[in-house]
């Protein structure tokens, strides 16, 4: 079974530009999560989809961040306009909906650098 995939693996953009990150979860996983790790700090939760619906977006830093999951399959996370403090590694994770206690499976992450 294929794991969680993320694209791109790296992105370097200038302040003020727009970037869109993509995540493809494991097939059949209804839960999809976005997390972010700013250099040297903990990995922080951004938001949680159940299928196409946003279940919890309490971790989204501000309205420059927009996440979508049209059709309940892959998800995108858009940052517009990007700021320097948005630099970090963005992780996507997925898990099966019905299995309470199931681990979340993470993708390799997208390293975003805003200059």
């Amino acid at each position: 079974e294929a794991g969680v995939t993320q694209f791109p693996s790296h992105s370097v953009i200038e302040k003020g530009q727009t970037v869109t990150l993509r995540c493809d979860p494991i097939s059949g996983h209804d839960n999809l999560y976005w997390y972010r790790r700013v250099m040297g700090k903990e990995i922080k939760f951004l938001l949680h989809f159940v299928k196409e619906s946003k279940q919890d977006e309490s971790g989204m830093p501000n309205n420059r961040f927009l996440a979508e999951r049209t059709g309940g399959t892959y998800s995108t996370l858009k940052v517009q306009p990007a700021e320097l403090e948005d630099s970090g590694v963005y992780f996507c994770a997925s898990s099966h909906r019905q299995a309470s206690g199931m681990a979340q499976y993470f993708g390799p992450g997208t390293r975003l650098t805003v200059t």
Partner: protein, 117 residues
């Protein structure tokens, strides 16, 4: 609010020696606890979890973790370290899931484990 503390940024262990990576947690109810490992240029890989049952949990690559409710700890251990165990280790906690099945994970800041040949 739930939280996780990993008190050591860096742990160095000689190859063949036992290793421990420390984690303490705080949650309002019963915790669901996880360890993840990140190898260089790779994503987070699930190692093991504690949900309920035996306090000693066994996971991948020979790792195990001991849940201690009175000390609110979930330390990661391995009897004999390998050089290939060198990586970044994250402890995470989750509140009891809602009816939708899964909730967000709260992570510690990570511990870099270096095994010295």
């Amino acid at each position: 609010a739930q939280s996780v503390a990993q008190p050591e940024d860096q742990v160095n262990v000689a190859e063949g020696n036992p290793l421990t990576v420390k984690c303490t947690y705080s949650v309002s109810g019963n915790p669901y606890l996880f360890w993840y490992v990140q190898y260089p240029n790779r994503g987070l890989q699930f190692l093991l979890k504690y949900i309920t049952g035996d306090n000693l949990v066994k996971g991948s690559y020979g790792f195990e973790a001991e849940f201690n409710k009175s000390q609110t700890s979930f330390h990661l251990k391995k009897p004999s370290a390998l050089v290939s165990d060198s990586a970044l280790y994250f402890c995470a906690v989750r509140d009891k899931p809602s009816n939708f099945g899964n909730e967000k994970l709260t992570f510690g800041t990570g511990t870099r484990l270096t095994i010295i040949p």
